[in-house]
């Protein structure tokens, strides 16, 4: 499945949330998005932002200094 990537590496919170928010606004429901960040704060902020705005976290993991969060756009 095609997935939109939001590259937020090097950005500190809340900029990754802002970049994600701006991308998700343009996408239809059920689209998959993957955010890649280096600020550990994304592991808390992105799930909180998803809960508030009705999007769904599919999975999250980290590889070295990078954090990956895969989510599905809600209605």
């Amino acid at each position: 499945m095609n997935r939109t990537i939001v590259d937020a590496r090097g950005l500190l919170c809340p900029l990754p949330v802002i970049r994600l928010q701006d991308v998700v606004k343009t996408l239809p429901p059920a689209t998959e998005v993957e955010l890649i960040g280096t600020d550990p704060g994304v592991m808390q902020d992105i799930p909180a932002w998803c809960r508030i705005n009705g999007h769904f976290i599919v999975e999250s993991w980290n590889e070295g200094n990078e954090y990956h969060i895969r989510l599905k756009v809600g209605q």
């Binding site: 919170c13 809340p14 704060g41 932002w49 809960r51 508030i52 705005n53």
Partner: protein
């Protein structure tokens, strides 16, 4: 949080707006400094929205906000904080968002007399007028001390269920929070903007002075939050990491700045902002050696990287008394 809850209690739909200026204290500082890593990294605005069950819109105003910081019509507060202009600007942006998204009025948590500059009885009408929000700006916590606004006059909001708080004390708000079942909230009166910080403002003033103009980019203001800033000469300064977390953060800037790193001993990564001669590079290396584990050694090896050029310097660390206080920003 409290103002939103008061309005929500009247059955009105509320959504939150949070503006990101680049000077916000939370978030960045937590992520940078290792010693702060034990603190919760939650974003307070997101957390509040979740507690209230409302949507939150975080808006990047970094570029537009520069004019507010550089040229505030109403001047600065005790430091480089343009509080009144900031409030006018943010309420103005909220008004624009309200119009674009079909909302009817704006609420803020302001209380008369709570802040010395932006929350006085005489400045509150200035915010409403100059932001263009006029009587669509409602302050639920002190509304009873102010003339009725449009939402009150039209009956969208019951004025009798609003409050008449005033002054610097937060006790009535804390009591109301308890009544409304809000037990956990951000520290009242906690500074959330670096521009209210004396040390930070001094570094920003130094940046403008050495540039010869009041101008900044996001990276400039981020770097002012990190490390020791030492200016041994007017045309260059050093940014010396104070601990591991700051060192990791400065690593991200290594490709854009000449930098120094001790080799023979453990020591901090140091960025050089400005141009320096070979003699001055040696002085910079001696300063860096001073903050390394070789500070008491006769000689410390320091690698200096300028673009593609890299040299190894062997220097004697400066003694504490050889670093004049006026070098420290």
């Amino acid at each position: 949080m409290l103002a939103a809850k008061v309005i929500m209690e009247q059955g009105i739909q509320v959504e939150g707006i949070n503006f990101f200026t680049g000077f916000c204290v939370e978030g960045h500082t937590h992520a940078i400094r290792k010693r702060d890593q034990a603190k919760p990294k939650r974003n307070n605005a997101l957390w509040v929205a979740e507690q209230l069950g409302i949507k939150l819109h975080i808006i990047d105003i970094i570029e537009e906000y520069k004019e507010v910081v550089v040229n505030p019509k109403h001047g600065y507060g005790a430091n480089l904080n343009p509080c009144l202009d900031c409030k006018i600007f943010m309420v103005g942006k909220a008004r624009q968002w309200m119009n674009d998204n079909g909302f009817d009025f704006i609420i803020t948590g302001e209380v008369i007399g709570q802040r010395p500059k932006s929350q006085r009885k005489d400045t509150m009408p200035v915010v409403a007028r100059e932001s263009g929000a006029d009587d669509r700006l409602l302050r639920p916590l002190c509304a009873r001390n102010l003339p009725p606004t449009l939402p009150e006059r039209e009956g969208w909001v019951d004025r009798e269920k609003l409050y008449g708080f005033s002054g610097r004390t937060r006790k009535p708000q804390m009591e109301l929070a308890k009544q409304l079942g809000l037990e956990d909230y951000a520290q009242p009166a906690g500074g959330c903007c670096f521009l209210t910080d004396e040390n930070y403002s001094r570094k920003l003033a130094d940046l403008w002075q050495t540039r010869g103009e009041k101008r900044y980019e996001l990276d400039d203001i981020m770097l002012l939050k990190v490390g020791r800033h030492i200016r041994p000469r007017p045309h260059f300064k050093l940014i010396v990491a104070r601990e591991e977390g700051e060192g990791r953060f400065l690593q991200g800037y290594k490709n854009r700045f000449p930098h120094l790193q001790t080799v023979s001993h453990g020591g901090p990564l140091t960025l050089i902002d400005g141009d320096l001669s070979d003699e001055e590079l040696e002085l910079a290396a001696r300063i860096v050696a001073r903050y390394s584990q070789g500070r008491d050694s006769e000689a410390v090896e320091v690698r200096a990287v300028r673009g593609l050029h890299e040299i190894l310097l062997t220097v004697s660390p400066l003694k504490p008394h050889e670093i004049p206080p006026e070098w420290m920003l």
